[in-house]
Amino acid sequence: MIMIGERINGMFRDIANAIREKDPGPVQEWARKQEAMGAGYLDLNVGPAVADRVSAMRWLVEVTQEVSKLPLCLDSTDYDAIEAGLEVCKNPAMINSVPAVQEKMDRVFALAAKYDAEVIGLAMSEEGIPKDAESRVALAMELVANCDAHGISIDKLYIDPLALPANVGQAHGPEVFETLRQIKLLSDPPPKTTVGLSNISQGTKNRELLNRNFAVMAMACGLDSAICDACDEELVAAIATGRILLNLDIYCDSYVDVFKSQNQ
């Protein structure tokens, strides 16, 4: 499983301040830290409080690229901000995200084709998040069809079945696992999968324990990546171990260290 480091997000006070004061320090520090823990992508989110999201996203991309070669995951519901970020990305990036809503898919997949970007597609529609796996898979299929219609290889699409907090949406857990399994049957090559891992533990008192258990259970169902806290040592160790047990990496005694250093 590939980690998409979640920490450069305006929801966090240090990043919000950095964006406001144009201080690259905290952004670049978190970029380095997450890369050193084995993150494969860096998520960039300007946060809710910023007035000019377009210029803030462009700035985040520029200062992050100064210290890291990792691909960037541009995280916004404002597609103008995403396009501004894509324009200045030196390497192909990832768009986070698009729901299965026609006019949004039209815009986002066109952007992805233009900038050779990967896309996170959310298994939700105007009506919100479905309750069961079947409806999630149906929405995933719409995302696959739209991706294909733009001539984008399906393995550049990451479907997020949407995990809900364990304390409020407990019944969604098994549906998410089932969705992950079924998504791999949708096409050949199949789409990839991702989740916003920290969602599962939102508002609970056992955040890290829930996160890492969900991560390894989802990996066993075919989860390819997760937007997560790449600086949680135990989570990283659990993911590295999951990769060994799934025979994705070749075992050696220092496999956790190897996983962390893989992108350096």
């Binding site: 990496d249 070749i250 075992y251 050696c252 005694d253 220092s254 260290d257 190897v258 893989q262």
Partner: protein, 325 residues
């Protein structure tokens, strides 16, 4: 509509390792050799580049190899009593790409030669040939730890390929390679996990050494478990091509050392009439073992018999014919 042929796409490739150093880089070699760099499984140029051809290193000992079968010794001739002349003949007459100099005479049971004696032999071979050198100790760790450092120091800057680092004895060879600018053979006992771990241990001593490691996965002769070596090498190469940095090194195999101690290499035709003439049979055994290992991704073959070397080099020529489309 044209048929689109499905080709395997790999994420990554094997590291390239340069062996030997010319005067421009602080050595005295007249040529260097580059191994590795493969971006596909062996010789599948249509799926990825094979930028460097596999090479053959011929083995030379510092003492007369008394135990070698008579038919091998006679194929090499009188030169086996003079390492410099032996090395020169291998390069000039037999076309060896490299010389693998083995200090068997340092073995406490075979003469117990000192570091100074070994250095004198190394210097004579370095001046006799211009190709890059592989340097092996006697194979007994306690003694090798006393000679490899001085040997490495005496040839500082030559970028020798120093053998061997093992999981429980890698520090002295790795330190010598670091200090005197040489490359290093990391040897593991037909065990992919140890091969990977050893590379990590070496890289923890010095990150730049990662680009100067050649993996010796330990090979077996034809008929003696070559399939185990083959599958380990294949797994390592798949790992390298799918992005495992710690297995993305070129590989070396001691073909001659394995083959020529087996009974097929020495039992006479009178003892085993069904096996055929021993001179032809033993040579073919070495060539066939080497040919199989080429298919598993071997980059450096260490061999002994001139005719086997000739056959294998011909085979490499054929395999390196571009088949990309």
């Amino acid at each position: 509509m044209a048929v689109e042929i499905n080709k395997e796409k790999y994420r990554s490739q094997v590291r390239e390792v340069v062996l030997g150093a010319t005067s421009a880089d602080g050595g005295t070699r007249t040529s260097t050799i580059k191994v590795g760099g493969e971006a596909s499984l062996p010789f599948l140029q249509f799926e990825g580049a094979i930028p460097n051809r596999p090479v053959v290193a011929m083995e030379v000992w510092d003492i007369v190899p008394e135990d070698w079968p008579a038919n091998l010794k006679s194929a090499l001739g009188d030169v086996i009593s003079d390492p410099a002349a032996w090395a020169k003949k291998c390069v000039e007459e037999y076309g060896a790409d490299m010389i693998a100099l083995r200090f068997k005479g340092a073995d406490p049971d075979l003469g117990d030669k000192s570091a100074e004696d070994c250095i004198a032999v190394l210097k004579s071979v370095l001046s006799a040939v211009g190709v890059p050198l592989i340097v092996y100790g006697c194979g007994k760790a306690d003694k090798d730890n006393t000679i490899m450092g001085p040997l490495a120091e005496s040839a500082e800057g030559e970028n020798l390929l120093l053998g061997v680092a093992e999981q429980d004895n890698y520090k002295s060879v790795a330190s010598a390679a670091m200090a005197y600018k040489h490359s290093i053979i990391a040897q593991s006992p037909i065990d992919i996990n140890i091969a990977k771990q050893l590379n990590i241990l070496i890289s923890e001593m010095s990150t730049p050494l990662l680009d100067r490691i050649v993996i010796d996965p330990t090979i077996a002769a034809l008929g003696y478990g070559i399939e185990y070596s083959y599958s380990i090498m294949e797994r390592a190469r798949f790992g390298a091509l799918s992005g495992d940095r710690m297995l993305a090194m070129p590989m070396i195999g001691n073909v001659g050392n394995e083959v020529w101690v087996k009974k097929e290499a020495s039992v006479s035709v009178s003892e085993q009439p069904g096996w055929g003439d021993e001179a032809e049979r033993s040579m073919a055994w070495e060539a066939a073992t080497a040919a199989a290992l080429l298919q598993a991704g071997m980059d450096i073959l260490v061999m002994r018999h001139p005719r086997a070397v000739e056959l294998v080099k011909k085979s490499i020529d054929d395999l390196m014919q571009d088949n990309s489309y």
